[in-house]
C-alpha cells in the first residue's frame, strides 16, 4: 500500500521521539478527537514513546460513543416493526440500548442488516419495495456526505421506501465545549479524515478564541509524532494556529463537492452528546427539502424511556477527565466481549482501544 510504510519508518520515529524529548520543557495535555487516532495511538504504543511531560488524552471522537441511548432505543423500536428493515454500519449492532440492542433484536428474528455503505442500503430498498428501509445515519463530517449522497440518489430515482434516522454530528462545537467546561487542553490533534471533507478553516476559532493550537494529523506513527512535535513547538513559541500535518490528503479548502452535498441535505440543530448533554448547533438533521427521507418525520414510533447504565464513566472518559483504567468496571465487568458502555463496544472507543492493546496485546 502506498504512503503507509514510509510513515511507519522506524528511523523517522526514533528521530521524532528525540526531537520531542528535546522540545518538551513543561507538562502539556494534548487531546485527539478522532476514534481513528485513539486506535492508532494505542496500537502503536505512542504514549510509551513520549516523555512524561506529554500527556495524550482521548476526547469525544468516537461517534458511536457519543450517540444517545435514545437513538439506539429508537432503532430497536423500528426493528420491531414488521414492515421495517434496519440498515446500519456494524459498529452500532452491539451498543446497548435501555433494554435491548440491535444484536438482540436480530436474535429475535427482526430484520437488521449490516451494510458497508449507504449505497448498499439503497440497493436493499430497491429490492424490497414493500418494506421501509431505515438507514442509521451516524458519524462526523467524514461520513455525512455519503449519507447525503444516498438521500440525493434516492430522491433522483424516486425511491420512496428509503429513510434515514440521523444522529450525524459535527466536531468543532464539542472541541470548544470541552475548553468552555474547563478541561485542560494545551493542544488538539485534529481529526484527519473529518478535515479531508471540511478543510482546516473549521478549527480557526480554537486558536483565536482559546489560544489553543490545532494540528490536523494523519494516522501513522510518524504522522502522530510529528503532530505532537508541531503542537509542542506552537506551545513553546506561544504561536497558536491551525496547521496541517496530513497534507498528502487534507487541503485547506477540503472537499468542496462533498461539503456542498452535505450542506444541501442537512441542517444544523442542537444535539445531545454523551458526557456533555446538549451542545448547540452540533448535530445534523435532514433539511426540509428532503423531509420525505427523514425517518423521524415519516415513521412515527413509540420509544421506551431511556435508562442509563450505572457505574460506567464513559461520559468522563469522553471528556478526557478520566482514563479507562480509572473505571472500576474496566477489564473486570466491562470487557470487549462483554461491554457495558459504548466506549468499550466501538472499536474506536477509548476503552476498547486501551483494552485491546494493553490487555490482549
Amino acid at each position: 500500500m502506498k504512503y503507509i510504510d514510509e510513515f511507519r519508518n522506524k528511523d523517522l520515529v526514533k528521530k521524532l521521539v528525540q526531537k520531542i524529548e528535546d522540545i518538551a520543557d513543561r507538562n502539556v495535555s494534548l487531546m485527539e478527537v478522532c476514534g481513528g487516532h485513539t486506535w492508532a495511538i494505542q496500537k502503536f504504543g505512542i504514549p510509551s514513546l513520549l516523555p512524561d511531560q506529554v500527556n495524550l488524552m482521548s476526547g469525544p471522537g468516537c461517534p458511536v460513543c457519543v450517540t444517545s441511548k435514545r437513538f439506539i432505543d429508537q432503532a430497536v423500536a423500528y426493528s420491531r416493526s414488521d414492515d421495517v428493515i434496519i440498515t446500519t454500519f456494524g459498529d452500532l449492532i452491539r451498543v446497548p440500548g435501555s433494554s435491548s440492542s440491535l444484536e438482540k433484536e436480530i436474535s429475535k428474528g427482526n430484520d437488521v442488516r449490516i451494510v458497508y455503505s449507504v449505497l448498499d442500503a439503497l440497493d436493499i430498498a430497491r429490492n424490497n419495495p414493500d418494506k421501509k428501509i431505515v438507514f442509521l445515519g451516524i458519524g462526523f463530517e467524514t461520513t455525512v456526505p455519503g449519507t447525503a449522497q444516498g438521500i440525493k440518489n434516492a430522491a433522483a430515482e424516486n425511491i420512496k421506501n428509503f429513510f434515514v434516522l440521523s444522529s450525524h454530528k459535527i466536531m468543532p462545537p464539542a472541541m470548544g465545549a470541552l475548553i468552555d467546561e474547563g478541561v485542560r487542553i494545551d493542544g488538539y490533534i485534529a481529526p484527519g479524515h473529518v478535515s479531508t471533507i471540511t478543510g482546516s478553516g473549521i478549527y480557526q476559532n480554537i486558536p483565536e478564541k482559546y489560544g489553543v493550537g490545532c494540528v490536523i494529523s494523519g494516522f501513522e506513527p510518524v504522522d502522530i509524532l510529528q503532530s505532537v512535535y508541531m503542537l509542542l513547538k506552537q506551545i513553546k513559541e506561544k504561536r497558536f494556529s491551525v496547521e496541517i500535518q496530513y497534507s498528502r490528503v487534507v487541503k485547506p479548502e477540503g472537499n468542496t463537492i462533498a461539503l456542498k452535498t452535505m450542506e444541501e441535505v442537512f441542517t444544523l440543530r442542537d444535539d445531545w452528546w454523551r458526557g456533555f448533554g446538549i451542545i448547540p448547533k452540533s448535530g445534523l438533521g435532514i433539511a426540509e427539502k428532503y423531509k420525505l427521507f427523514d425517518a423521524e418525520k415519516m415513521i412515527p414510533v413509540d420509544v421506551e424511556e431511556t435508562i442509563e447504565e450505572k457505574g460506567c464513566i464513559c461520559g468522563e472518559i469522553l471528556k478526557g477527565l478520566k482514563k479507562p483504567h480509572d473505571c472500576k468496571l474496566f477489564g473486570k465487568i466491562c470487557t470487549s466481549t462483554n461491554p457495558v458502555g459504548a466506549c468499550m463496544v466501538s472499536h474506536e472507543g477509548a476503552c476498547n482501544a486501551y483494552f485491546r492493546f494493553s490487555f490482549e496485546g
Partner: protein, 80 residues
C-alpha cells in the same frame, strides 16, 4: 467510523470506480470527488472516494522532516 483507506483506481465506469485496497477490489462511488483518473490513489470511506492522495505532498512531508533533522545536526556541530 472515520476510518478511510487508501486504494488505487483500477478502472472507471461513469461515476463508479473499481479501487484496489491491499489487493482486494471494491466498487467505489465517485459522486463526491471529481477529476479521478485510473492509477490515482484515493481515500475510500463507506463506499465513496473522498479525496485523492497527493504524492508531492507526501514526499514533501517526508523531505521537510529529513531536512529539519539535517539542519538540527548542523546546529549541533556549529555549537561544538
Amino acid at each position: 467510523m472515520c476510518l478511510s483507506i487508501p486504494g488505487k483506481v483500477k478502472s472507471i465506469d461513469g461515476d463508479k470506480a473499481i479501487v484496489s485496497v491491499g489487493g482486494t477490489e471494491y466498487e467505489t462511488s465517485l459522486q463526491l470527488l471529481e477529476d479521478v483518473k485510473v492509477d490515482d490513489y484515493v481515500l475510500v470511506h463507506t463506499g465513496f472516494a473522498i479525496q485523492k492522495l497527493d504524492e508531492e505532498e507526501a514526499l514533501e512531508t517526508l523531505r521537510l522532516f529529513n531536512e529539519l533533522e539535517e539542519s538540527n545536526s548542523q546546529d549541533v556541530s556549529d555549537n561544538k
